[in-house]
């Protein structure tokens, strides 16, 4: 698919074809980011499909996915490029007696063969259009963020020994954030924004059916309703994500359950709940009944 020929309905169809269930609240921002050539900043709780969105775009446009996983302490060397220091030292040792001219050695060790491309440089030098996923950008610090938006503004970098490298193809850029800290206004201003919230019961049912077609309609609806009920509970320490709903329904199928009952919930709850206190809270009689009630509500 080419971006120039892209329409909203084609993008929607494309998502559907890739089993990525998305309504206009997701499709429109993605469409605009592609059309306006702007980075897309995707925010939302863990497990709602932020990273998956970049993967889907990569499959949809048939271009490679280049992923930069962010963490505190990430610096330019890890994100952009680094000289292969060990290889350079070995090379110097090998050729030190061969040449009198040190300039020759210097030119050699600061060439492509000694350059370690990191994700950002790989995206800039990619011979074809790529999807650049900058995952969990909120984990980096402010200095790196400032460096990042400089790269994202011009899509060119200067390497002192090699000169300025300009992107051959502007990549599709997707940044994700879990909101562990506030991102700078400068970075946000350069991006279009998409917030992915937990889905409604109806939408989650569609997601479950699309991703796990072997689960019946009834089980998908019951799981979606029960998970929705869990998310509405204020005392849960960690709300279940869509990824965990998928794990749960797959686990239920593996256990041979065709519908959600108290026994099935008890034996598979650890697939959807990852905190000891949450586990105990949900196994309390009242909570279990509420889950059962939520899942039965669908049948009425």
């Amino acid at each position: 698919m080419e971006i120039a020929e892209l329409t909203l309905s084609k993008l929607r169809e494309g998502f559907k074809h890739q089993s990525y269930i998305a309504d206009d609240d997701i499709v429109v921002p993605v469409y605009l980011a592609l059309k306006l050539g702007k980075p897309l900043l995707v925010e939302g709780a863990p497990g709602v499909g932020k990273t998956e969105l970049a993967k889907v775009l990569s499959r949809l446009f048939g271009c490679p996915l280049i992923r930069l996983q962010c963490y505190e302490g990430l610096d330019e060397n890890k994100a952009l490029y680094e000289w292969n220091y060990q290889k350079q030292l070995i090379r110097i040792q090998i050729v030190k007696d061969r040449y009198d001219d040190t300039q020759h050695v210097e030119d050699e060790i600061f060439s492509d063969a000694f350059l370690l491309e990191r994700p950002l440089l790989r995206a800039i030098r990619s011979p074809e259009k790529s999807v650049l996923l900058i995952d969990e950008v909120d984990r980096t610090d402010e200095q790196f963020e400032a460096f990042l938006f400089e790269v994202l503004s011009d899509f060119q970098v200067s390497i002192p020994e090699m000169g300025t490298l300009v992107a051959r193809h502007i990549p599709i850029v997707v940044l994700t954030s879990n909101r562990s800290r506030e991102l700078s206004d400068a970075l946000k201003r350069r991006c279009l924004f998409l917030f992915i919230d937990y889905p409604s019961v109806e939408k989650e049912t569609r997601i479950l059916k699309a991703k796990v077609p072997e689960a019946g309609e009834k089980l998908a609806e019951q799981v979606a309703s029960a998970v929705h009920q869990m998310r509405s509970m204020d005392n849960l320490k960690k709300k279940p994500s869509i990824a965990e709903s998928l794990d749960w329904i797959r686990g239920l199928l593996a256990m041979g359950a065709s519908e959600l009952d108290a026994h099935a919930i008890r034996s598979t709850l650890n697939l959807v709940v990852k905190h000891k206190d949450d586990f105990s809270a949900l196994l309390e009689k009242g909570c279990l009944c509420a889950l059962m009630e939520a899942s039965r509500r669908i049948e009425r």
Binding site: L41, N77, Y85, L89, R139, C191
Partner: protein
Amino acid sequence: MSVDLALARFAMMLRELGIRVTTAELLDAARALVEVGVTDRERVRVALASAIVKDSQQMPAFNRAFDLFFSPPEVLAEYAGKHELMLSKKRQELSRASEELLFLGEPVELTDLQKSTYARLKPEDQERIREFLDRSTHGKKVGPNFRPLIESIVQGHLDRWRQKLREEGIQVAVPVPVTGDALVDGLLDEIAGMDIDSSFLHRDLGQVRDEDLPYFERVTRELSHRLATRLSRRYRMSRRNAQVDIRRTVRASISQGGVPFRLKFRARKVQKPRLLLFADISGSMSKYSGFVVQFLLGLASVVDTIEVFLFAEELEHVTELLEPEMGMRQAAERIIEHSAQWGKGTNLAASLQTFLTEHRSYATSDTVVIIVSDTKTLCLDEAEAKLALLGEMTRDTLWLNTLPRQEWDRIPSVARFSRHVKMFECNTLAHLERIVRDEVLKYPY
């Protein structure tokens, strides 16, 4: 109205609601509308939101603004008319206050905020102020030289009333045309009447209703956990900002014939902060203190120690009563059960004296002291002296003042304590998170 003009006015309205809209974002919004068209209302909403709103917490405000702004023309005209009417009513209120509050036949000098406060009072309370002025006017040997004193009494009285109204959840505001555009101002009035701040982060913690408490507890826990997780990562060794350890690099290079193939880095020395918390639990302060205690306990993994003291008329050391995973209600129950100070009056001087006598060893040069209080206390001079002494013994003293900043000028203790501490306004979770992040945990330690 053209699309460009509509967008510009919409942006003006959003800015007044605290949503930052830059020209670049406005241009993106215009380009987005070209791409998606303007016939589908929901599509327009999503397109504008993705170009303009960069914070999910601002979405409720954006949605309200969108729903109102893109209403039919006759509805918009109605909002503008209502706004004009409201402005004229407010103007009447102000002039009525000027006409009614007279001393020696001349209006008492009051700010618009004080006049608005007067207008919000019950008729019997208004009557009391008028009676006071009337009696003062007709007193024996009363002359114009009494005016500053009388005005100061009335002003102080109205300021106290405003504080009381605020505690009851009634906000007194000065009516001013915000943008000068009747339509935008009218819509802003409509929004002001709605409870759009679904972001609990910005709500006054003293006003939290009991039924909302579980939600607030969860948000507090999440914020605290988020901060702790982020900081624990910072404590891990990173090559960024680290220095090459020459000695270890040379030693390691011996096996490679002296060629330093592998660089060794010097790990940063990590020293976690020690916190000393003094939380005021007198009267209306207890709720604020409860949130601060819960928030700080959530940071247990990233601080060296936290010692918690509660104070009202006296000081109580309660660290052992509290556990990091304890909810606010549970903590409050345990404190009420064990504490003799809950809900009493405030005597900071006596409380600090107890600390200096019985718990002095907790105050060390690497300790950060955090005090949660509205600064209102008995024995101000003595309290100030003790505070100065505590400040000399510790690294830093942060005062989380629960009073809104605009009230600080009229409370003498604020200026007195500010000489010895760093004072911050702290009555919402957003304030609390920012202060702890930027001030308590800012040191590289």
